[in-house]
Symmetry: C2
Subunit: 385 residues, 2 copies
Amino acid sequence: MDNFIFKVPTAIYFGKGQLDRLGMVTAEYGKKALLVYGGGSIKRNGIYERVIQLLQEEGVSYLELPGVDPNPRIDTVRKGVRICKEHGIDVVLPIGGGSSIDCAKVIAAGACYDGDAWELVLDGRKIKKALPVVTVLTLAATGSEMDPTAVISNLETNDKLGVKSEHMLPKASILDPTYTETVNAWHTACGTADIISHTLENYFSQKEGFMQDRMAEALLKTCIEFGVKAVKDPHDFTARANLMWAGSWAINGFLKLGKEVVWSVHPMEHELSAYYDVTHGAGLAILTPHWMRHVLSDATVGKFKTYGVNVWNVSPDMDEWEAARLAIDKTAEYFKAMGLPSHLEEIGIGEENFGIMAQKAASRLHGAYVDLTSEQVEQIFKDAL
Amino acid sequence: MDNFIFKVPTAIYFGKGQLDRLGMVTAEYGKKALLVYGGGSIKRNGIYERVIQLLQEEGVSYLELPGVDPNPRIDTVRKGVRICKEHGIDVVLPIGGGSSIDCAKVIAAGACYDGDAWELVLDGRKIKKALPVVTVLTLAATGSEMDPTAVISNLETNDKLGVKSEHMLPKASILDPTYTETVNAWHTACGTADIISHTLENYFSQKEGFMQDRMAEALLKTCIEFGVKAVKDPHDFTARANLMWAGSWAINGFLKLGKEVVWSVHPMEHELSAYYDVTHGAGLAILTPHWMRHVLSDATVGKFKTYGVNVWNVSPDMDEWEAARLAIDKTAEYFKAMGLPSHLEEIGIGEENFGIMAQKAASRLHGAYVDLTSEQVEQIFKDAL
């Protein structure tokens, strides 16, 4: 096991009715909040109204930044930073999924920085402090509620970049699974695919970690148990709760401690999102099984069999290759069972940009579970057609 | 899943050479430390000398409280509190296993309290603040390095009580598995049995938690993979590292989130320790399989089969009762394979006190996985003879 530091001080308030704590928790960090949210869903499901009421009860005043896009933009961040600086905001309060939370994190950092916020996205080391962030999560997917990372897009430069700083780690996050019951089947499936993919990215790494890998298997089993259930019955609280908590742990750093992890499928999907309007989780669901088939080899078959046995209940007595292939087939079938596509053509993507997309993706795969050339990545895209 | 709060801000510095950070980490909390440790082992394995050097390099002065007993006593705590108050100690620095850490936690709380420290053990709510605690762990077992609990004995009143307060949660813990390589086979086995038992206590609960139970299985598999290995080859770093990290997670609260957990075997073992000089882990190893056999019933056989299939690779096709019994047998065999006893007679315990011990234990079992009468507990003791 390699050396590591584990420090995840985010306080998690999990369960039905935990939103009631929001006023008190926010007031610990200040008396003036900036609410950051996306479209109108938080107004439809009642959460917005309740948030306002809770803040008022604790005497926390607030300003609002609505309209955060699914891929949050630096322009929105800048708008938020301006509000924070002009109005002396004490605490940033995103309500929503990963987009609102990511946007809020960089706003919080930008509010404590003299230059332009995009400079912080380009170089996270420039983040020396940030306003406290308290999140209210309404979608189980990105894990942003318990990690120090944000992904921000810049339409002028065509960039979509991740930035990481411990200063952006939320001070507290409120996870009430009931607020995810209004998430529709498609986004529930996409969110679950994202959680599964985060876990697989940590699991399939050059360096193994025994305890870490068993923990990853535990999260995968959790997603498999409850993903389809949540898609079929949106009000299945146990399913919503398990997915929500699994989402946080898939990517809060715990699974990769003591390992070296370079992601494989996310960089490829990133190019799909960059060139086409693909929902992230759907792209991951399509690419993952094709990536698995491509990297299956004498060197990796053992790990894929372990994956099959420990996650998919494949018999340990089965031949190694047979078990590995069965595990991959079961992965593909599961995404399908959640209503997700299996091929790029299903979502209207052709091979016109595969060359350049593969080049860009391959440049970020050095050190991944299996090092892939751009030709190999292109082949995976073709296999996925 | 029940509501919960997860807040474990302890910073963990894990791996070879992480001790080097001790000076810096300690200096964050003050310039005057109290070293708390047990017997001479930290002087034999070189850790003491290095700690002194690191503190001096950072200009941290220190006083010492050596001689903490395996079951740390309130008298030692009082001595530590006196030193803290008289000398204006800023930070308490235990070096060792659970005993030194537990002792240090209550010293840290007592240093900020006007009355006698035993009052705090009797009622943890009286702990309103504590000096910061930074731990250096040298034994994988109790998990005290990442939890808010301490167990203290009072020889005058014949009490051994646990106390919990978030103020006692260590600010930082240094976990260098190489320092556990000098732990002998017996204490390695006992420590591993303790970790396994903590995990089982969380696993076998009236209320199930899907993700939590899969995580518990992951920790159990980790202990099973590496316990015997560490006993046989004390310098197996991977084994030492996995056991050390598993030890922290078995009891830092994570496994019981969203469940109601009342422990079963620990209260029974507690009575063994109270009446005889039993090493805690050895007592747990003896009692656990007998407890399992006793509580196996139509109501619990399903869970025991799940335990067998997911932890001990029992075939899912096997008959439920057969699978459950096989899982229990494997549990017993594993403790034996680590060199631990299977019967109380092996460690010189007869049935003379079973009646009163059973009565005391049963009084603390309400709400446990299976509610047991004192007669039933007595029967388990007899089965374990």
